[in-house]
Symmetry: C3
Subunit: 371 residues, 3 copies
Amino acid sequence: MLEYLESLRLVDHHCHGVLGKDLGRTAFEETLTEAETAGPPGVSMFDTQVGFALRRWCPPILDLDAHAEPGEYLARRAELGAAEVNRRFLAAAGLDALCVDTGYSPEVILDPPGLGRLAGAEAHQIVRLESVAERAAADGVQAGRFAGEVRSRLQAADAVGAKSIAAYRAGLELSGVRPSEAEVAGAAGRLMLAAESSGAPPRVCDEVLHRFLVWCAVDAGLPVQFHVGYGDADADLRRGDPLLLIELLRAMDPIPAMLLHNYPFHRHAGYLAQVLPNVYVDAGLATHNLGHRSPALIAELLELAPFGKVLYSSDAFGLAELYHLGALLFRRGLAGFLAGGVEDGAWTARDAERVAGLVAYGNARRVYGLG
Amino acid sequence: MLEYLESLRLVDHHCHGVLGKDLGRTAFEETLTEAETAGPPGVSMFDTQVGFALRRWCPPILDLDAHAEPGEYLARRAELGAAEVNRRFLAAAGLDALCVDTGYSPEVILDPPGLGRLAGAEAHQIVRLESVAERAAADGVQAGRFAGEVRSRLQAADAVGAKSIAAYRAGLELSGVRPSEAEVAGAAGRLMLAAESSGAPPRVCDEVLHRFLVWCAVDAGLPVQFHVGYGDADADLRRGDPLLLIELLRAMDPIPAMLLHNYPFHRHAGYLAQVLPNVYVDAGLATHNLGHRSPALIAELLELAPFGKVLYSSDAFGLAELYHLGALLFRRGLAGFLAGGVEDGAWTARDAERVAGLVAYGNARRVYGLG
Amino acid sequence: MLEYLESLRLVDHHCHGVLGKDLGRTAFEETLTEAETAGPPGVSMFDTQVGFALRRWCPPILDLDAHAEPGEYLARRAELGAAEVNRRFLAAAGLDALCVDTGYSPEVILDPPGLGRLAGAEAHQIVRLESVAERAAADGVQAGRFAGEVRSRLQAADAVGAKSIAAYRAGLELSGVRPSEAEVAGAAGRLMLAAESSGAPPRVCDEVLHRFLVWCAVDAGLPVQFHVGYGDADADLRRGDPLLLIELLRAMDPIPAMLLHNYPFHRHAGYLAQVLPNVYVDAGLATHNLGHRSPALIAELLELAPFGKVLYSSDAFGLAELYHLGALLFRRGLAGFLAGGVEDGAWTARDAERVAGLVAYGNARRVYGLG
């Protein structure tokens, strides 16, 4: 089954760009997990599930033995240089298509076409809703024209889907009601006023605007990705349970809602994928962070979620290793899950291969209308 | 250990009636899981854990090979007809007694005695509290007499337990305080007024009334079953965590509170079963929906819950297959759990058999006072 | 790997005193789990995961065969007497150091030095913050001098850490803001007034005071232990999710915050340990209560938590068996986790031994500054 999954090229329906520069040890450790720092004295981020997974699977791609020590690994990485390292890991990921969230790029990272070239894969754009709104606000549109401006920018974006980061700002408890033009104009006015008086760029964090943006995507016919659960410390997990989103999920049917990451609420997400027709789920980001434990996560996600509603994503950001680790751990976890079922007689090998194809690429191609 | 569990006839302490009519593929898929629909284009509800469990275990009961394709299975099912299909699956479940929730019957389904005859088991009634109240309101009792009327109807019901569906309406955050007669009269008046002005039948969804109804059951000495967690999309899971119910659970001691389903909050339920003397738990509905993953659920439920506080239920509704799958997966999951412990030396085979008897029927017989 | 872990002496960074008196069966069952009672008729607390773990591992320490029946076990225990039983189990735990929470001692229990002598281990004190405040209030300090009095008592305490039981009183949703002197004086006045008018001893249950106490510990440079999640029925689990504490955890950086127990929120705790630099976690209390299932708990805790952020504690209280069971199940669970990874090639044996040392004693020694 693992061999079969290794023969399949994946659709990574949610990832980010890769950093184009070399990294020292501290910066590398800071980028490895969702922590903001490389850890207090005495704590190394290499001593984590993702750290050990990296040391197991990545050194051979750089011509080292598995389990190389961090220092040796980083030395070899520096020796090869970021461009070569990126090329090797993106190629190793075995991807057929990538859907790249272009909304967050604090540093020099590759754009979707560049990433696609490295990976030998089609590259599509996922447009980040809040970024569209923030750029419109920064460009100084009138509050009363804000809604129309955002809508037309979104229509003009060459994207296969949209992404909401409400979970990072107002939280996921978004109402299911479409906000009125007056509400949007009021919220837009407050957004621009706050930016003006603070001198900082506009920052959407108003429930009305997050909700408005989701409806813009719905009206544009775009599947909407939602950040859910696990993320860095800015993602207040108290407000990141996907159950909070149920009213909006229901209201936006039949436009697909793609619940991303989900850990540690992945069982809640699986429930939503079963009971609501337009809800889809993945375990991106968590898969590579859980490393050797990722098979448990994949099995739990697949408890209630129909297998036609589960997708692959890496949510890789920055480190090229994460595109490879995400794909590798996903393949191994899903293969183990499916092979275990075949061995126990729970399903046939033929059904297992069919399900593997759905989750690896079929569901993503169908939902996003890719080729 | 599996052989031993197969030799035990189970008490299914919470199930519903079985449909007496034949079903086409769409209707069958709609009834298979908790989704309202058979899934959007490209998604089959057969491609789920419960779908694969059905294809593995049910075809042989209908003289087909395991893993029959859905089309073949449904054709054979139609050929045999609902009556014969129901007879075969209910008999295969290996039940000694059923406690049937008679509160929800949108279609022609068998009554408890009919179900008991098919299963070759004693059949008992679980009276649904909200249905009693709604019928009393529909019959036009005066608001001031509503409480007395409900109490006397409940006393007259020939039931071994009562069931609350507060989780589907007001949510589980019910206070522990017994409502006053005036509060109940006020709420009853609002209930009947709402029905009158809308023209729809009365629908209890008021925290005061749910709580009043639980106290009626307590006063009648009836164990109270609570829907908890997993259910269809109407069961707002945000308000379905059993921890929300802790005050009422504590207040109703020593009357037993039976927490049903519980997934994905089954560890919360196990905690309550340990720390509160009158709380009991099961994993009905989730057991067959998790299929090949149900052993993990059973093991997690049994982390904190004392083994004298865990019961079996199917929560089967409509499809005869679910009575069989629930019982089969429960037996296999519990057997695997207990046999694993024997193999590892965690407990003796003798203790394992004793615990199997408690969970399979002993705890239910003791709590409901069955024969 | 198990042999290696058995060769390591543990630091138990959170435990309580052991009872110095003999116990009858009912009292023993009441002390075994977090239930207040020995269970309703027909339910034995021996029929639990911890009960079976006790019957497996403890009888040989008292010269009986594993799996002795409860009656036989308790008879032998009575025959040996509490002093000898305590001596045997504390010695069997294989501890190098204990950090003893001295805040709750309803009965005759050994003090830290006494416990240390039995265990052959260094004994350190963890000062319970609410107890310090309650004693200061009981001693009749003026409200305006309360803050200073508490601060100086805390400075005078010979402790390596402090413990907050906010989860048992106001809940974990503590703000991150340091309360003003006026707020503390007001809350202290209310605390003493309530005690005076009720005649009961002062009982801290005010969010301002819990928060004030944490800041006192922070100012004293003491790592702060927080009760999180699992505990007896008084620990309202609705308010015990560690995510509720995120603002205070962030604000108190770089003083270490030690999240205790955590079950069933251990994945939430692991997330916090990853994303916040000053957060550490354990699975005390839950480890022995989950018995044969404790390996699953340990594996889930280690999903996101950096291995340099995980500690051992027993949270043993009262029964000498629990010090032994906690240590034994922790060693076996961690050994199984690490050995499984070595077997699968996830990490090397050398790394596994290094991680074992971190979790068994290294992290605790570093954080508490022990020898």
